[in-house]
């Protein structure tokens, strides 16, 4: 069911209220990928962690393609049949074609996450795949294929790598790379957690934390390990999610990292190539009781429209997820209770998450996917489930309403979800969702185009070309001024459509649009009377096209 007209009309025709999302089955999408978690009786930690997914345009045809990460050979897993990652090209008709081998991006080692970006500024989007083992940097050749340039780039460190975030921390105009590391791990470090029904995955608390990495882009496709110098790599954590954002509006990108069973890190950019970790002082490291929570997915956005970036962390069940409102003084207050997030997330373990404008009304709504990491949890606790629902929240002036079944049929079911990426797969201006499930097929959710108040709201899509992470987009529609920072990373092991969808509400045009590009250029581009309901691309100091 696709309802792009009046809500009431849909109810009349279909006999039931229209839903926000419909599920696209593999028979229709052609996406037959199934994640192999490498599930073993021994229950090795990495089995429960992945996978991630990327929504990106690898062939520059203006249509978003999909990349799914899979497990693979490692010290505890020797697959009986080959296991590989998968790249699907968008056929521009709602279906996708597997082009993995042609593109040369099948992966190696035990895949977990992915971050897509044009790191070498050649106009083609590249892929960075995080692994248990050695990560992979796939450089896009611009001809439908990629080359593994990991070693040449200097990114071949081994470990249990999770989140990857491309952002320009030193404002030299080149994208640098943060790579999160979970626990210090190899097969021999695995522990045994026995229950009457067998071995379960152990709590991360029993493993040694390990530092993450920051790589500085030094040009010519090479990176320098600046983990120690920058301060990022001097602290050990158990990092899962990470997002680059500007918490103090100083024009320098900061980094927020969620740790599992360790305090979260908030790395404040000192504007001199180093960071200061201020998680404790900022009130985002621990719960209000001083307990380290199980941070997994993260995101950053200005959910209350005050011009300051807020933070979100998806935690474990009974920990509540965290919604940190920016207090504009380098500190945050957890507003999960006030906003309805705490109550709605009490029983779930969250992973992939994204603030996005579901209904094109201009504010930031929220989606988060969930799943208990212990596939045997139901045998020891009847209140918890391995598979859990995806939650879709509509932002209603600062309070988040869980849409439940109104979001769509998929939202009444449970999934072993991990990664989540949002992107407009059919270029209709409405954000679709891809959920990567652990040990199962992914879920593709197509936005039906329904607006809450009836008629679909209007939108403008903006594809900022070149180096745009950290750009500030400000617009006015219907006399209401709004603003958005282009962040990087976020969610969990996943990579979103890089285009920004700006909600106009009932307005049919933007009165004006302003893009303040990140340093070093600080270029400001401004446009008047921008027509709605179409995508535009923009280069620095260029025209809206």
């Amino acid at each position: 069911m696709v309802c792009t007209n009046l809500y009431a009309f849909c109810v009349l025709i279909h006999g039931s209220p229209p839903v926000w999302y419909e599920t696209i089955p593999p028979s229709k999408s052609g996406v037959t990928f199934i994640h192999d978690s490498a599930l073993s009786p021994r229950r090795y930690q990495p089995e429960s962690i992945g996978p991630g997914v990327a929504v990106f345009d690898y062939d520059n045809d203006g249509w978003m393609d999909l990349y799914f990460v899979n497990s693979g050979v490692c010290d505890f897993f020797e697959p009986k049949t080959p296991v590989r990652n998968a790249l699907y090209r968008n056929n521009r008709n709602g279906s996708f074609t597997d082009v993995t081998y042609k593109a040369g991006v099948a992966g190696r080692d035990f895949g977990l996450g992915v971050a897509a970006t044009d790191y070498n500024d050649d106009g083609w989007t590249d892929l960075f795949v995080t692994n248990y083992g050695e990560n992979i940097l796939y450089r896009n050749n611009g001809d439908g294929s990629f080359t593994d340039v990991t070693k040449q780039a200097g990114l071949d460190a081994r470990g249990l790598w999770t989140a990857a975030v491309w952002f320009d921390y030193d404002r030299d105009g080149m994208l640098d790379l943060f790579v999160g590391h979970f626990i210090r791990y190899d097969k021999t470090r695995e522990r045994k957690c026995e229950y009457p029904d067998g071995l379960h995955y152990c709590h991360p608390m029993g493993y040694e934390p390990w530092p993450s990495k920051l790589y500085r882009n030094i040009g010519n496709g090479r990176f320098a390990d600046v983990s120690e110098h920058s301060g990022i790599g001097v602290i050990k954590g158990k990092s899962f999610g990470a997002v680059a954002t500007d918490i103090n509006n100083d024009g320098w990108l900061d980094l927020f990292v969620a740790n599992d069973s360790e305090p979260n890190f908030l790395f404040l950019n000192r504007c001199d190539g180093t960071f200061k970790e201020i998680g404790f002082e900022a009130g985002v490291a621990y719960s209000s009781d001083g307990a380290a929570r199980s941070g997994m997915g993260v995101d950053a956005a200005d959910y209350d429209g005050d011009g300051w970036e807020d933070l979100f962390v998806a935690n474990f069940n009974r920990e509540h997820f965290s919604l940190y409102r920016n207090r504009r003084d380098n500190s945050f207050s957890d507003e999960a209770g006030q906003t309805g997030i705490a109550e709605a997330t009490q029983m779930y373990s969250g992973w992939g998450v994204k603030f996005f404008d579901l209904d094109a009304d201009g504010d930031q709504d929220l989606i988060v996917c969930n799943g208990h990491p212990d596939d045997l949890i139901e045998s020891i606790n009847s209140s918890l489930k391995h598979k859990e629902p995806i939650l879709l929240f509509e932002n209603r002036t600062g309070k988040f309403a869980n849409l439940g079944a109104r979001a769509g049929e998929a939202f009444t079911r449970d999934f072993p979800a991990r990664g989540l990426a949002v992107g407009d797969l059919n270029n209709d201006g409405f954000p679709d969702v891809v959920v990567a499930n652990n040990g199962a097929a992914p879920l593709l959710l197509k936005h039906t185009g329904v607006g809450r108040s009836g008629a679909a709201n209007h939108w403008v899509g903006l594809d900022l070309k070149g180096h745009s992470v950290g750009a500030r987009i400000t617009w006015s529609a219907g006399g209401i001024k709004r603003s958005r920072l282009k962040t990087a990373g976020g969610s969990y092991l996943s990579s979103h459509d890089p285009r920004e969808l700006l909600g106009l509400g009932a307005a049919t045009k933007l009165e004006w649009l302003e893009v303040r590009w990140p340093g070093p250029s600080k270029q400001v581009d401004r446009f008047e009377d921008v027509a709605a309901d179409r995508y535009y691309s923009l280069k620095q100091a260029g025209k809206l096209e």
Binding site: F316, R318, G337, S383
Partner: protein
């Protein structure tokens, strides 16, 4: 609320004395009389907190009469004290099967399941206990806690309200309930309502560490850092096992940090970091 002392209080004092009808053994032969005798011995030892001999006596009672419900329940209590929740659950399930209309046994089964974070399983027993004995304050309290654990906030609030009406002024359960309810409202960002409950708890029991700490936490949220320090320091001086020292040092480190007292902030931060890590999972 799941601290050892609170658990022990429930186990020792909530319905621990079985009624004459309840302790009637399954049969009146000499074997049953012997079971009754062993049970009485075990019960007395349990009240004296002599758990090992109490367990031996109750095991003997059950050997003599496997369906002797008070002995099953006493064994469950002993098992919970020893953290053997699996054993406790088995005994209590047997007990409620034999005596399904006992509010006390239903409560204990629900209580045990709550302690294991199995809220969905705990709910029917606690609801039944509250139904069977509407003035069962502990059942109402744990029902509220269970609803809270399930994220059913409105039900939890109703449960706390019902529970508070049943509590006598100045009873230990009253202050526990006020603090637990206050914590829920704190989580929901209802700081004014939360503070009213915590103030009530402080009036009823000024030496309650949990309440002093919660008051400090509330003051911190209100950016009244001097008061946060005052209540945090008081909490630190008081005995108690519910609120940990780690929690209080965390509060004090942040509050001193906000007031610019860096040295004191560092002292408490160091103590916070040195304390055993708490993690809610």
């Amino acid at each position: 609320m799941k601290n050892f002392l609170a658990i022990l209080m429930v186990l020792l004092f909530c319905g621990a004395g079985a009624t004459r009808a309840q302790i009637k053994p399954a049969s009146v032969d000499s074997r049953a009389q012997a079971a009754l005798s062993e049970y009485r011995k075990a019960s007395a030892l349990f009240q004296q907190q002599q758990y090992e001999p109490a367990l031996a006596a109750v095991e003997e009672a059950l050997r003599l009469d496997a369906k002797f419900v008070p002995a099953l329940v006493l064994k469950a209590r002993l098992a919970m004290v020893a953290n053997r929740f699996d054993v406790a659950r088995l005994c209590l399930r047997q007990a409620v099967e034999i005596a399904p209309d006992s509010a006390e046994y239903q409560f204990l089964l629900g209580f045990e399941l709550y302690l294991e974070n199995d809220f969905i399983a705990a709910l029917p027993s606690l609801e039944k206990a509250a139904r069977l004995k509407p003035d069962h304050a502990e059942a109402q309290f744990y029902l509220a806690l269970t609803f809270e654990g399930l994220g059913r906030t409105d039900d939890a609030i109703n449960g706390y309200e019902r529970g508070l009406k049943l509590q006598r002024e100045r009873s230990p359960q009253l202050t526990d309930m006020l603090v637990a309810y206050g914590r829920l409202l704190f989580t929901l960002g209802r700081y004014d309502d939360s503070e009213k409950l915590i103030d009530r708890a402080l009036i009823a029991e000024p030496g309650l560490r949990d309440a002093q700490y919660e008051k400090g936490r509330l003051r911190f949220e209100r950016r009244d850092y001097a008061a946060a320090i005052k209540y945090g320091k008081r909490a630190l001086e008081l005995p108690g096992v519910g609120t940990t020292e780690r929690q209080i040092h965390y509060l004090l480190a942040r509050a001193y940090g906000q007031t610019g007292q860096k040295e004191l902030a560092e002292v408490h931060l160091a103590k916070f970091r040195a304390a055993p890590l708490t993690l809610r999972r």
